[in-house]
Structures are given as C-alpha cells and as structure tokens.
Symmetry: C2
Subunit: 366 residues, 2 copies
C-alpha cells in the first residue's frame, strides 16, 4: 500500500459498468487508465470519460492505487492476478455478480497477494443496456456496493476500496463472499429462476391451450417480466453460483410443496396465515434503500388514452412529489387503467390531496 | 326463455363487481334490480346506479331476463338455485373466479334447471378496491369475460348471456368450467402462489440475515408484488380450485427441479435454451388483448426527480402515442431510473423519434 486514498484508478474491461465507474471516478478528480481486449470498446470508453488508453492490462495498472476488473466473471481471476503481480502497490477489486468463486480463483492464482490485496466487489446496479456508449456516472449513484474482503485482507486495502466506493457515489456494505453469494441466490437469482420457470411452463401449456394467455392478468405479467432477461448472461451467473442456487431452489420448492399440501388438505387457516405473514413482509419492503424507511402505495384511476398519464405525472410534479415507482395495472384486461404510484410515506398526504383535487380518485393501498 | 335480449337485469350481491355490472347495464338502457344481504351495500349501490332496491333475492329476480350472482364463491350456488326457482323465465349467471365447483353446486341444488339455465361466468377484471362506492362501468370495459355453459345448456340462454355481456362492454369467451379452472390455475393462481412462497421464504431468511432485503433488486420486487394481496380472499380461491392449483404447483416444481439439476450438473447450453425459449414467449405476451398482435417495448433513461416522468409522458401525449404500459426499473438500486414503455408496434418509430428529439436516449428492447 503506497497510498491511503485512491487518486489513480485503472479499469480493466470498459463495458457499461467499467466505463460508468471510470466516469464516476473522473467526476471526483481521479485520474483513470483503461484497458479492454476489444479496441473499439476502449476507444468508445475514452470518448465518454477522460480515460488514458492502455495497450495492455499491465500498462493500465502502472501506478494505480485501485484496479477494478469489470469483465465477465470467467475472465476476472486471471486479470486480477496479472494486476496484483504488475502493481505491487495497488489494491485490486472487481465488479462480478458472484463472489466466492472469483475470490478463490484470485487466491489460487496470486497466492498471499490475492488474500491481502484483492477485495472482491459487487456494485449492485445493472442495466439491460450494455457497452460503453450507454455508460453514465449515474449508474453508480447511491447503489449498494458489496465488498467481500478475505479473512487475511490488509485492512488498509479494505479501507482504500471502501473510501473510493463512497467517494464515487456507491454505498459500501461488507460481508463474506460466501454470505454474498447465499443472499443474492435468494433475492436476485431465485426470482429470475422462478420467473423463467413460470414463463416456460405457461409457454408449454400454450401449445395445447392457445387461449391461456388471454386469461393472463397483471399478476402473471409481473411474475414473468424478468423472463425476458439475457439468457447467456444468466446461464453464466447460475453456473457460477450453482450451490447457492440449488439450495435456494430447494427451499423454495419446499415452500411450494407445503402450500400445495395445505391446499389439498383444505387447511384454510394455515393458508391464510402464510399469506398474511408474506403480506406483512412485502409491505415492509420498500422501493429504494433510501426510502425504505417508509413508502406509500396509492391507487388512482386513469382513462386509457394519450395524455392521461401525462396529466397524472404532471400533477405529482407540480406538487413536488417524487414518484418512486409507477405501475399500470389491469390494462391487460381492458380499456381502462388503474395506476399504482409509490411515493415516500412523508409525501403520501400531499399526494392524496392533490390527486383528489384533480379527480384522480386516489386510495392508499399500503 | 321468455325474451331473446336481456332488458331486465337482476344483480344479487352489490359489491364492487355487482354494482359495476349494474352501472354498465343501466348505461346501455337495461332496467336493473338489486339485492344484497347488507342493507348498506344495496343502499350505496342504488346511489351509484339506477337500481331498484329489492328486499329479497326472490323480489329482485321477478321479471328478470338475466340474473347475475356477484357474491363470494361459497354463497353463489344457493342464491343461483333460489333465482332459478323463482324466475323460471330467467337465465342465471355469476361472477365467481372459479367455475367447476360453482356449476356443479348449482346443478346439485337446482337439477335440470341448473344445467339448462345457469351459465357460469367469470368477468376477468378485478380491483384491489372493494365496495359499491368504488364501482364504475369502466370496470367492465373491454374485459375478457369467460362463460362456461354446461353440456346440456339451453343455446338460447347462452346466446342471451353472451349478447348481454357484449352489450355492456365485455368480451365473452366460451370454454368448459373445468378448462377455465385449469387455465386460471396456471395464469392467475400459480403466479399468486409463486409470489407468496418467495416472499415467505425471504422473510424467514431475513430473521437470520437482516441485510438480505438490502440486496433485493427490482426483480425481487416484481416477483413479490402480488404477495400483498388479500389473504382471506386467496385462501378461499385456492381451496375452491384445489386440484387445479395442486396440479399447477406440481408442474411448476418439476420445472424448478429440472433447472436445479441443469445448474448443479453444469449443463450451460440447456439452461441457456430454456431461458431463451421463455424470453421468446414473454416477448410475445403483450399488455392488452387489443394490441397483443404487436407491441414494442422501449427503454428510456429518466432522472430520479419530480417532473421527470411528467416530461416523458407529456412527450408521448404530444405526439399522440398511447402508453400501453410503463414500468420504472432499477430504482431499488440507486438514484436513477430506467423506464420501460410499451406502445403499439405501429407507434414505435414515432415514439423513438420524439423521445430521441427530447434526449431521452431511447432504445427498443422488443
């Protein structure tokens, strides 16, 4: 460790997340060097951010305080090991969406330097977009950024990465790599699996029952929205966290089996209690970490015509109420729309008042 | 059958759906009589719609051409049987969300009259709201309205209900009661079960891992939105369709088990193919039956501040593009928002052009 504050940053892999991190770092005054195996990606990145174009990973990490590897998961460990070897004064981190395999891979290749100076990371943003041309420093703003230092990590290295993450706009959260992978299996990977399995099942049924999707209402749409995610990316993620995924699927299947038995055996009060307990938990879950302390969900009626949503959102804007989430419900079923608006709980009364003044007939659902 | 067109309608049970149907019937010139076991419900209904208040079900159905029973499922069969007995010239239908048990219950109580003149129905609208004070004829506009005539049903009775449903604004779709229940098990009940089970599992994990929901991103939120539904109502629905639910859960669990095995055994290409096939099916699923033939999904970037959505929706309104669906994505993860806009495919190029003109940086996802 030659520095305590990260002034010189190297980004290896300048896709959407790498370039966004480069831009967020440059925004706070860091000097940034970048490398990508694809010359057009690094050229595009250098047009978006003030990035020095390096010809090799070794060239990029020369003099860096922090190196971040932003490639697909399989390429992370070899690049991190090269960076650790070439830049003995640098802390190395990454942006991979699973952590245990990556951290073990780095230690395997780099030995004690991997344990001490590689601090696994997972900036929990994401986008359907890809490529440096869609990068933005806003990708980093306010996101939860998990750091997974090994037990033998250099405390100064951890502090440097943590300080840099905060400075460029992220919210660092420390936990072990194993715990990270276990938790994301439940809240990120399992929802994807549950959604894809439901859509795959309905698509199979549709072959025999062409009208099945005519009967699909808003709930089905909510549950299957994730099923349009990138197949190649998800196959890679699931395989990289296979034990975590399998454990989460097993626990989920057990819940489904419990509920199935309650239904078949007619145990109404138990079904109702399971539903009530899930409902309470869901209402505690808010839309953003920053407003998790309290949100309100309002339902309003809007006619299904151009301009109706514009009137609604303008009404909220005029009264300075920020819309945290907006969902059109029931439109699959006909020519009218109910809209669920999520706003900070502190804004709920203001929102209800102005919506009622404009005849949007609001009610508070939660 | 004394008439061929339904001019006189009786509504038994004047909650939200019953009162909405009464209003939609009155809108097209039908005379409407109503009854509810709760005197305040029928009083409220008569304030919303031009409904003659009846003191008993028998009083309500006198002279009716069509009787519709809009009570909770357990009360439907007894009331339908009373209506069939008191009004020998009327066709009787209902608005229950499951059909086979209801239809068999009516035939059990009413005999051949149940087979001939009871035509099960399921208007597939719905609302988180309840009570006649939130009723509106718009609840009926354009909704898919399943009718489940028995094999021995009087064709004139079927024609009368079908004609009336169309006239008041619904889109009648005929199928057997058993098929209805099987299909809604997949596209309505199973999504509810999948959502509640996922939320219940995460809530249990949260007891040991208080930070788990900090890592929950937009996907988890999508998947668990339904988990805040009414526990008592859902317990009733699941029990009324228990075999259909159990069969759907079994098939779903099998998909999950297949995917689990593919993951554990590292069968990447098979995982990718399952995800790709689900993705294709999801992209075929549009937001409304009327535009299902072709929609486009556009992604745009909007800053997370009051007024941003208003600018976006106003831009669409000015160019007369109707927004079929709008979803804010990624807001759980930070201070920015991407928005998915669904528009008719024919409007996609117009929408992309005006959005680009206003610097919303749109891309077409599907």
């Amino acid at each position: 460790m030659t520095s305590t504050s990260a002034e010189r940053v190297a980004v290896l892999g300048t896709g959407l997340i790498g370039t966004s991190i480069a831009m967020a770092s440059a925004r706070v005054g860091c000097s940034v060097a970048g490398w990508d195996e694809d010359p057009s990606a690094i050229a595009a990145a250098s047009q978006r951010a003030a990035v020095r174009i390096a010809s090799t990973p070794e060239d990029a990490v020369t003099d860096a305080d922090v190196v971040i590897v932003c490639t697909p998961v399989p390429a992370i460990a070899p690049l991190a090991a090269r960076a650790l070897a070439s830049a003995p004064g640098a802390v190395v981190t990454d942006a991979g969406s699973i952590k245990e395999g990556v951290v073990l891979g780095v230690i395997d290749l780099a030995g004690p330097a991997g344990t001490a100076r590689f601090i696994g990371g997972h900036p929990m943003g994401g986008s359907e977009r890809s490529g440096p041309e869609h990068a933005s420093p806003a990708v980093v703003d306010g996101i939860v950024w998990v750091l997974t230092p090994s037990e033998g990590a250099d405390p100064a290295a951890v502090a440097m990465v943590e300080g840099w993450v905060e400075r460029i706009g992220g919210r660092p959260v420390q936990m072990s790599a194993a715990r990270h992978d276990r938790l994301v299996a439940f809240v990120s990977h399992l929802p994807q699996v549950a959604s894809t399995a439901l859509m795959a099942l309905a698509a199979t049924e549709e072959a025999d029952e062409p009208e099945i999707l005519l009967l699909a209402a808003g709930g089905f749409r909510d549950l299957t929205r994730l099923a349009s995610s990138n197949p190649g990316l998800w196959s890679q993620i699931l395989l990289a966290n296979r034990n975590g995924i399998a454990a989460a699927i097993d626990l989920y299947s057990q819940r489904l089996a419990d509920l199935r038995d309650m239904v078949l055996e007619g145990r109404g009060p138990e079904i109702e209690e399971m539903f009530a307990s899930a409902k309470r938990a869901r209402l505690r879950l808010a839309t953003k970490p920053t407003v998790r302390a309290g949100v309100a969900v309002l339902q309003v009626q809007v006619p299904d015509r151009p301009g109706a949503l514009a009137e609604l959102t303008s009404t909220m804007a005029e009264s300075s109420v920020n819309i945290e989430d907006l969902q059109i419900v029931h439109s699959p079923e006909g020519g009218r729309g109910a809209v669920h608006l999520t706003v900070a709980a502190a804004s709920a009364d203001d929102a209800l008042r102005v919506l009622a003044d404009r005849s949007f007939d609001p009610i508070r659902l939660a």
